[in-house]
Symmetry: C2
């Protein structure tokens, strides 16, 4: 089977966006804040938003299952305070849960966290518990920069984040390190901030000693690892310069997805990064939805690139498409096994 | 001949660092500020710092000439105010000028600017004039983030920067877009901030209309363009999504250097980016000075990778090693022609 480890609910019914607009408008007038019950989206609406979009493309591309989380750019953790994020995350996660319930063969949930700038990450633990234990979610998305492009939290290797890591280890779930929209005019959200965050997160792990404290912690760095595989020599050299262990060391805990939207990028990724650390993903529908005029196919149809990578064996491809994801997301593996898959 | 377009004076005599330390210490006690005349470095000291370092390696690697600018991480434009940066830039540029004068066959100067956060870039014009007209410098380094990792200036496409671009066009010099040290604990200077800045600068150019206003302006994006070539499909798709012209359009004004420290990275760079837009560079001695245990050679010996790239013809290599640099840095070309080269 083929599992896409990186999909967001970017096609949710408009009612969700309207609810959020009401919530934001209420920040200056708390009495007008919408309640969770004010959001009414029927199962039919959910079905339609998925069947005509993600599921249609998944069928066309031969993808079986997507690990599905709320829209990344809409997380916008910088908006309001913890209460704002808590209400918004609960609603977004519940919708993903309903999608996974409506299409159990095709979607498994990953949780957005109710992060808020400067707020102790410990406040996210109840939402993680709820999503994993009640909803059966298999992972979380962790935003290393809830400020939205101003980078005011400590690095991921700082003890600030440890309560989250303890919970991840306890529940045996990985985190995809994924920022949200950029409010800094210097950084285009999906053309700069996302990629910069990927590179930044990797380097934070390289300079810190996080995985000594959490040997089983697992991070998925999306968008093909930002600049990291392209500069693998630079990072190997920096690790050496900084008297750190060789990078193979980090590969016990760090995985890269295949959201790289052209063949030469996937060729490089799969050449440089050991095959056990590459997880299939497309982030469909994400930042890049068009057709590549050079190929006539969607930029984000990453299966085509993986299929066309000559250096990969069939066994390598099975790892990238399925085996690695089941290993990194053991709760998904358990669910699949329970269904005889 | 082989021209390295990206070298910094990272091996300057210690007296320079001591002068800077005195300058920084004097920020709280202006009366104790050192004067330019307090820095005394003899020609012999300069010769020794170059002959045993950069020039030795250039000879070993068969490189003829380096475009040479002050140490990037030491620019530290966030320190003090404009006066601080003006005194520091003047001293650093003068040292590069002296090196270029002592070794005219091997070094040509590129200027550090006296940038300061929040200060009008127009204040940099006299130093540019001086370096180009009096010293014969052939380029400048432009820091898009003088705050040192907090990104508080407007994007490069903003009119804020236009006075610099007018001067660059008038003098027919390119700018390498190069940040300095990161004061933001999230960003490792050479492992995250440098690469992020490269990606950020490219995306700022993609979303802006800068090159419509300055059709002859030329930017060199160092470190192989950050994440850009690896994600070339993403950027092509984003340009399409944003209703911008195809990326080829940007390639009339943007060039990438070859500071990518492993063979697969150089293979990708030269495959994805048209050969006319790739400029040879090593940033020796820069962030990564060690020996790659996988090859037995220096990580930053980028000539080996370019020589070993099978897809490049001899003519392609001549462009990367010499022709493109002479085209992008016409003042260097004029100087070389005057010497019959």
């Amino acid at each position: 089977m083929i599992i896409d480890c990186h999909g967001h609910y970017t096609t949710a019914p408009k009612a969700l966006e309207h609810w959020r607009q009401r919530q934001i408008a209420s920040l200056s007038d708390p009495a007008s804040a919408p309640s969770a019950a004010d959001l009414r989206i029927s199962d039919d609406e959910l079905r339609e938003s998925i069947e005509n979009n993600q599921l249609k493309k998944m069928r066309e591309r031969g993808l079986d299952l997507t690990i599905f989380s709320p829209r990344a750019s809409f997380m916008a953790h910088h908006v309001g305070d913890f209460g704002t994020s808590a209400a918004w995350a609960a609603i977004c996660n519940e919708l993903c849960h309903r999608v996974a319930t409506l299409f159990p063969d095709h979607f498994a949930g990953a949780a957005m966290l109710p992060q808020s700038p400067g707020v102790d990450p410990r406040t996210c633990l109840p939402e993680i518990e709820r999503c994993v234990r009640d909803y059966g979610f298999v992972a979380i998305n962790l935003n290393p920069d809830p400020s939205g492009g101003f980078w005011r939290e400590p690095p991921l290797s700082d003890r600030h984040w440890y309560p989250l890591y303890e919970k991840m280890v306890e529940l045996d779930i990985p985190a995809m390190i994924h920022v949200s929209t950029s409010c800094n005019a210097c950084f285009h959200t999906s053309g700069a901030h996302y990629l910069n965050a990927d590179t930044t997160a990797f380097m934070q792990c390289l300079t810190g000693d996080l995985f000594q404290d959490f040997p089983t912690l697992r991070f998925v760095i999306p968008h093909g690892g930002g600049a990291v595989p392209y500069h693998w020599g630079r990072f190997r050299g920096l690790a050496q310069e900084l008297k750190k262990p060789p990078l193979d060391h980090l590969l016990k805990n760090i995985y890269f997805d295949t959201c790289v939207y052209h063949q030469p990028g996937i060729d490089l990724l799969t050449k440089v990064i050991p095959v056990d650390n590459v997880l299939f993903a497309s982030e469909m529908f994400g930042a890049v939805r068009g057709i590549d005029p050079e190929t006539g196919h969607s930029f984000d149809d990453t299966r085509r690139y993986v299929d066309a990578t000559a250096s990969l064996s069939e066994n390598d491809r099975r790892k990238i498409y399925e085996g690695n994801v089941r290993r990194v997301y053991p709760r998904l593996d358990t669910q699949l096994r329970a269904r005889g898959l």
